[in-house]
């Protein structure tokens, strides 16, 4: 079989190497590949545009066959859509329910967003742990503050309305 098929990365790029059984058979028996056995059938990869292949996972559930990272990704998108809906919701039906939903959705969206920024720029075990702890404290305080504001003061929807009526 050709040399290019022996490297899993170029196999992915070619798209031709993994489509026939014989090549895959020889790929499996190659000892260099047994240490990193990733064989992807290109055709099936094309059918799953939603499958994010590489992204960071939160510190929990970091086992090698956990789909926690994938679920996290999906949850981030679902939350974004929910937050999009809360915008007009706040405008047309201001009130306690929207106030607390906004507090939760905004804080969580921000927490996860800042988490991605962290993952991109902070490297090294201790630095990541410190930064993650700091972020967790910040998000907790933010949520607490927003809930306190909703309970003891005018609430988020009214606050924006009052601010804008200047």
């Amino acid at each position: 079989f050709d040399i290019t098929a022996s490297n899993p990365v170029s196999a992915l790029k070619n798209g031709t190497s993994c489509c026939d059984v014989k090549n895959c058979q020889s790929l499996f028996y190659q000892s260099a590949l047994l240490a990193r056995p990733v064989v992807v059938f290109h055709k099936e990869q094309q059918l799953h545009p939603l499958t994010a292949r590489i992204h960071s996972s939160p510190p929990l559930y970091a086992g090698s066959d956990s789909n926690a990272a994938s679920l996290h990704w999906t949850a981030e998108r679902v939350l974004s859509i929910a937050l999009l809906a809360l915008g007009p919701g706040a405008y047309f039906c201001p009130g306690s329910v929207i106030d607390y939903s906004l507090a939760a959705a905004l804080t969580l969206h921000g927490h996860w967003g800042l988490g991605q920024v962290l993952t991109d720029y902070v490297h090294g075990d201790t630095k990541v742990k410190l930064a993650s702890a700091g972020l967790f404290i910040l998000s907790t305080v933010t949520f607490a503050g927003l809930c306190y504001f909703n309970y003891n003061d005018v609430g988020i929807c009214n606050a924006i309305a009052l601010l804008w009526s200047k």
């Binding site: 990733v38 939603l50 090698s64 859509i81 921000g110 800042l114 090294g124 075990d125 933010t142 009052l162």
Partner: protein, 153 residues
């Protein structure tokens, strides 16, 4: 052999996680004291690049503003209307008020519209380069228009 193939439908799992692989990458680089390749200092800036970092910047900025507001609510004495009246009494003038409103409205609009653009990418739509630029300009245009509309409300 057929059994092996049938049990490996998409991919055979690797022994390490993505996170472990990434940590190994960074640990090796710092251990060997490798310099970082020049990237933003030499690469020509493009609209998609600028929009991407702006999306991140507006996100971090908005998040920071929300956190600052929440902490102020917890720490500062007096209630919200008290502080609003305080700002009112400063009689800042319509232009500066408009500017301040733009400072809030634009990051929010931009991040929202570009966020929708991101969600379209997430369902696989709009990756062709002309589409990237077209949707990009649309986001910028809509952000400016929405911000102006919000200020005039």
């Amino acid at each position: 052999m057929a059994l092996l193939l049938r049990s490996v439908r998409l991919a055979a799992p690797m022994g390490t996680t993505a996170k472990e692989e990434m940590n190994k990458f960074w640990a090796k680089n710092s251990r060997l004291n490798r310099p970082m390749s020049p990237h933003i200092t030499i690469y020509k800036w493009s609209i998609p690049m600028m929009m991407s970092i702006t999306h991140r910047g507006t996100g971090v900025g908005l998040s920071g503003a929300i956190s600052a507001f929440a902490m102020a609510a917890l720490i500062l004495p007096g209630n919200y209307t008290h502080y609003l009246d305080l700002i009112h009494s400063l009689s800042v003038g319509p232009f500066l008020i408009g500017l301040a409103k733009f400072g809030i409205a634009f990051p929010l609009s931009y991040h929202t519209y570009n966020g929708i653009r991101h969600l379209c990418w997430d369902i696989g739509k709009g990756f062709k380069i002309p589409e990237v630029y077209r949707t990009g300009y649309t986001v910028i245009g809509l952000s400016v228009i929405t911000s102006l509309a919000l200020i005039l409300m």
